[in-house]
Structure formats: C-alpha cells, structure tokens
C-alpha cells in the first residue's frame, strides 16, 4: 500500500492532446458484433477454394487488410502475389512488422494507407528502395504505432471491446503521430494510452495444417495471429497441407483458429516462400537479395515483377521461376538441419 501511495503522489501528470493520426478502421465493437452476427457462417461447411477465387471474391478495392506471420516468416505470399496480379487498388494495411509483405504490395501499387509499426525495411537484410520511395513521396498515408500497440489493437477487437489501455508510446512522437488518446485509470489514477480496436476487413493467414472447414494448426510462434484471426471481418487461410478433420479432432489442443472464424481455406504448399516456414523451409535469402537488388533500377524491377508475378499464371508458376522443387528442397534442408 505504501508503494501504491508513493506512485500516486508522483502522478502529477498532464494529458497530451490526442494523436494527430487518422483511424483507418471503425473501432465500434457493436457494429462489429452485428457484422459477426449476420455475416460469419456458423455452419461447419467445406470452404476450400483457390487463391484466384478468394482474392476475387473476398478482397475488394479499398479494403483494409491484416497479414499474418511476421514480415518474411509464415507470410501468406501466394495471396499477396495474387492481389498484385489482380491489380487490387487502394488497400489499407496493418504494418505490423511488414517487411516482404509491404514490399510486395508496394511493388504492385496496391496500398494507399498504412498503420505503421515497422515498414520499408527487411530487418537484417536492409531497406527496400521502392517501399521507401513510395512513403517518401507521400503515396501511402501513414498513422504511426508500435508492434505492441498494433497487436493489442487486434486483441481489443478479438475481445469485442473498442479500445484497450496500454503503457507504450507515451511521451514520444510515435504517440503524437498515432491516433491514440491518453486517459486516466478510474481505479488508480494512473495514466494510460487508449488504443482503438482494429477490425481489418480481411485477415490473411498462412498456417501449417487446416481441415476443409478451416480448423487450423500453427507450429512455432503465433506472432499476433491468434488475435488477428478473431479481429478480422473476413478471414482467408492458406495452408501448407489440408488434413482430415479426424486429425484435428485427435489434436484439439493445437487448434489455434477454429472453423467459425474462417471464410475460405486454400491449400498452398510452399505458400510462405520466399519467407521462412518454421519446421518446413528456411527463407530464400538469395531470392530476397535479388529482389532488393532489382529495386535499384525501374526497368530491372519491372522485368523482375514480370518474370516472377505478372508473367506467371499462379503461385506454382512463381515457384517454377525460382528453381522449383529442387530449390525448395534445399530450403527444407536448411530449415531442418540447423543443428551445428
């Protein structure tokens, strides 16, 4: 109790004005409830589709999308390529450690607004020239956040509430350029930052295993996908493998996404390539380097995109351009023989 009093005495706090950023998605939890009541299928039906169909049917120009995984780890690359191929426009994006995913969508000129935690970089691999150029030219409207803030914005939506109080971002320019609002705890008077629930129009997640109804297993880290799956109005799942429902029923503790969250399931082996898929294949660092290098020159980049995305029919076509099963098996060896 003494400590409690002490902290309250030093809480001679002032409240800053709300962040100047724009809220790109509606945080209203009641509207989301209505949507989930009316539009989310409860019936456990087979919902297997193709990448081409899900992008055509479930992603509209102007939609706000949330992407699962972590930049170039367990990222739904097959769907991202199809978004580019179908020339979707004016998408919004939750830039929650967006690395190769951001790079793909910028290359296709698909996004015009972004909630930023991490963009334009590919972590230790360096920075993307085209992504930087798009942002520096003001082609993508930004609102600033952090990884924790975005993951908790998903969590608020997943909980069915319109905001959550958090303790990051306070006192910084990251806060100033966000859309967060400072608030007082009604119990302790402590200062918090209220971050609005983030309900994406479409969530896209790549998983290790799913059945035809959309019950999913993910191996390894979840990143923010537990909450992203629950926050998304529509949810597209791509899976390395379709498995029998019986397999799910025998391992229910591993089911991280239940069928009633999922609108479509697509089997896409190597669907996270050139990213890393835990226990399956390592990231193709050579190809990612080649992509970054191609960005140095407009013509080279146009050729690169033509060769790998526009000029192929589907994701299997892309995998053929990078060396097919032979290259993928090398990456499987890299992933599974990491022992020293």
């Amino acid at each position: 109790m003494d400590n409690y009093m002490k902290y309250n005495e030093v809480r001679n706090v002032t409240y800053r004005p709300a962040g100047v950023g724009k809220i790109f998605t509606d945080p209203d939890a009641d509207k989301a409830r209505e949507y989930f009541r009316d539009e989310k299928p409860r019936k456990m039906v087979e919902k297997v589709s193709s990448v081409e169909q899900v992008v055509k049917q479930l992603i509209n120009d102007g939609d706000y999308v949330g992407i699962g995984g972590f930049g170039a780890n367990r990222t739904p690359v097959a769907v991202l390529h199809e978004i580019v191929r179908q020339k979707k426009k004016n998408l919004g994006l939750a830039g929650h450690t967006a690395t190769h995913d951001f790079q793909i969508l910028v290359a296709g000129n698909c996004i015009n607004r972004c909630d930023v935690a991490y963009i334009v970089g590919l972590e230790a691999r360096g920075l993307s020239k085209i992504a930087r150029k798009a942002v520096q030219n003001g082609e993508v409207e930004l609102c600033e956040w952090t990884n924790a803030a975005l993951t908790w914005r998903y969590k608020a939506a997943a909980m069915g509430v319109s905001f959550l109080p958090v303790r990051c971002m306070l006192g910084t320019d990251t806060e100033k350029y966000s859309a967060a609002v400072e608030m007082k705890c009604p119990f302790t008077d402590a200062k918090y930052l209220a971050v609005p629930a983030l309900y994406p129009d479409v969530g896209i997640i790549h998983v290790h295993r799913a059945d035809v109804y959309g019950n999913c297993h993910i191996d390894g880290i979840m990143v923010a996908d537990h909450d992203l799956a629950r926050a998304s109005r529509r949810l597209i799942v791509t899976t390395e493998r379709l498995v029998p429902n019986e397999f799910i029923r025998r391992n229910p503790a591993s089911t991280v996404i239940p069928y009633y969250l999922v609108d479509a399931v697509v089997e896409v082996p190597y669907g996270g390539y050139p990213g890393n898929m835990a226990y399956e294949y390592f990231s193709d660092e050579e190809h990612l380097r080649e992509w970054l290098k191609a960005e140095g020159d407009d013509d080279t980049m146009a050729e690169f995109l033509e060769r790998h995305i526009y000029g192929v029919k589907d994701f299997n076509g892309y995998l053929d351009t990078i060396g097919g099963l032979k290259r993928l098996q090398e990456l499987r060896i890299q992933e599974n023989l990491v022992e020293k």
Binding site: V10, V13, F70, G71, N73, G95, T97, T99, V116, A117, Y118, I119, V120, G121, E123, A124, R125, L127, R132, Q136, G138, E141, E144, W145, T146, N147, A148, A149, T151, W152, V166, R167, C168, L170, G171, T172, D173, T174, Y177, E182, K191, Y192, L193, D219, G220, I221, M222, V223, A224, D225, H226, D227, N276, A278, S283, E285, E335, V338, E339, K340
Partner: protein, 256 residues
C-alpha cells in the same frame, strides 16, 4: 588480441547482462552480445524475441526476430502479445535498441529524417517493437557507433523514449517508474546516465581513445564521471567465443 570496433562493442555489452535475468533482443549486435554473455558470464541469462521466441538454444544468429532460429529448441514458442505483456508486467530486465539519431537523454529516432511526417526526407522502418521495449524493460542499452550526426542535440523524431526531456519526464508521461536508458556502448566509450540530470555521462574510455575524440564525435555536451576509467579491452576468451561460436561466418563482426 587485435580486434575491430564491432567486436569491441559486442564484448563490452556482454558484460552488462547479469546471470538469471531476462533480455529481449533483436538481430545483429544485441543478439551476439546476449549469446556471448550466455557462453562466458551469464549461463542462465534468458533470451526472448519480440515475435514470440522464449529461451531458445540459438544455433546461430537469426536473420529476423521471428525466424525459426529464434525459437529453436526453445522453452516456449509463444506470441508477440505474450512477450510484450511480459515486458509490460515488469518481468524483463534488459533490452537493446539502435537508431539513426540519439540525444543526450537517450531518446532514439528510428522513424524519419525531415520535418514533414507524411512526406519525410528519409523514411526509416519506425518503431517496430523498439518503443514498446524502451517503455517497458527496466534497463535499455544501446550498441552504436558514435559520430556527431548520430549523437545529436535535437533528434528529428522521438521514436522510442529515453528520459524524454529530463528528470521526472518519463513518469509524467505515464511510463512505468524506474525504467529507462542504462548504458550506451559505442566504438569510443561506455556512457551511462547521470542520476540527477538524466543526461549522458561517460563512464569509461576505450584504450587509445582521447577525450577530445569523444567530444568531436558528439553533437551535444557530455557529462564525465568522477570515476572515469579506461574500458577493459576484449579478453582473449571473449574474442574466441565471439569468433568461433557466435559469429563464425563473420556476418556481423566482418562488417566493421
């Protein structure tokens, strides 16, 4: 033993991570420092990655804070909210940050250069998890080369909080009391933070470096410790583990 600046910074940083504590690291030098600490000084140091990896037996340095190496033979393959909430709860002792600019209070810019937010002169990735870790972890460290452009009086954007505008400012902002910048380890010296003013204070100078050189490479006025010492150079043991076990392909230490 001969060594370069990167090796020097990693070895010095590894000495500050106490045994039986928890550190959240990213890729690069911080990860190398934590691995080296585990091998020599702090075998029970627990390493976490913000994407969800907890307590891995790292086979090599990760490329991404979410790649499969970050939870290789780990205790837990968890999630980003799990790790961030553990930090917010006050269980994480150390973290490491980097950035394009840093000021005398340890505030860091990794977002942009310029004055127009929507059309910056140069855009960097942004916070990622850096702001969160700087807000929540008890002790924030930095490993960075020192030059006057990087160590600057006024940074273009406060991405992650140091001591903000000085004493009491973190608490006034609502950040958890008792947290904040701890050490800045550069190629020239080790810098701490003055208890009273919360400004950077040089604690030890690396062998062969002069006070003048440090001043030349800093864009603001530094404080100097009354017990200013010379930094202990990397030991043979540190360099051996760093070169043979932590970074055998010299991805990191070959860059300096």
């Amino acid at each position: 033993m001969e060594h370069n600046d990167m090796e020097l910074m990693i070895c010095l940083a590894s000495r500050y991570l106490e045994d039986n504590s928890i550190v959240v690291v990213g890729t690069g030098a911080p990860c190398a420092a934590a691995m080296l600490a585990q091998m020599i000084y702090s075998p029970r140091l627990m390493i976490m990655f913000e994407a969800g990896g907890i307590g891995p037996l790292l086979p090599s340095m990760p490329i991404s804070v979410g790649d499969s190496r970050t939870f290789y033979r780990a205790l837990v393959a968890s999630s980003m909210p799990e790790v961030m909430e553990t930090c917010q709860r006050g269980l994480v002792d150390y973290t490491f940050l980097g950035g394009a600019q840093i000021d005398q209070y340890g505030n860091i810019n990794s977002t942009l250069i310029g004055s127009d937010y929507q059309k910056p002169k140069v855009r960097f990735p942004g916070s990622g998890g850096a702001n969160d870790l700087a807000s929540f972890c008890w002790k924030t460290m930095m490993i960075t080369p020192q030059d006057p452009k990087r160590f600057t009086e006024k940074i273009d954007f406060i991405t992650s909080p140091g001591y903000l505008s000085g004493p009491g400012a973190r608490e006034e902002a609502g950040l958890p009391p008792g947290s904040g910048p701890y050490k800045v380890i550069t190629n020239l010296c080790v810098i701490g933070f003055d208890e009273e003013t919360k400004r950077m204070k040089v604690e030890s100078i690396h062998p062969g470096i002069t006070r003048e050189k440090i001043i030349e490479n800093t864009g603001f006025e530094l404080l100097w410790s009354d017990n200013l010492t010379e930094s202990d150079p990397p030991t043979d043991e540190e360099l051996k583990y760093l070169r043979e076990e932590v970074d055998p392909y010299r991805y990191l230490i070959g860059r300096a």
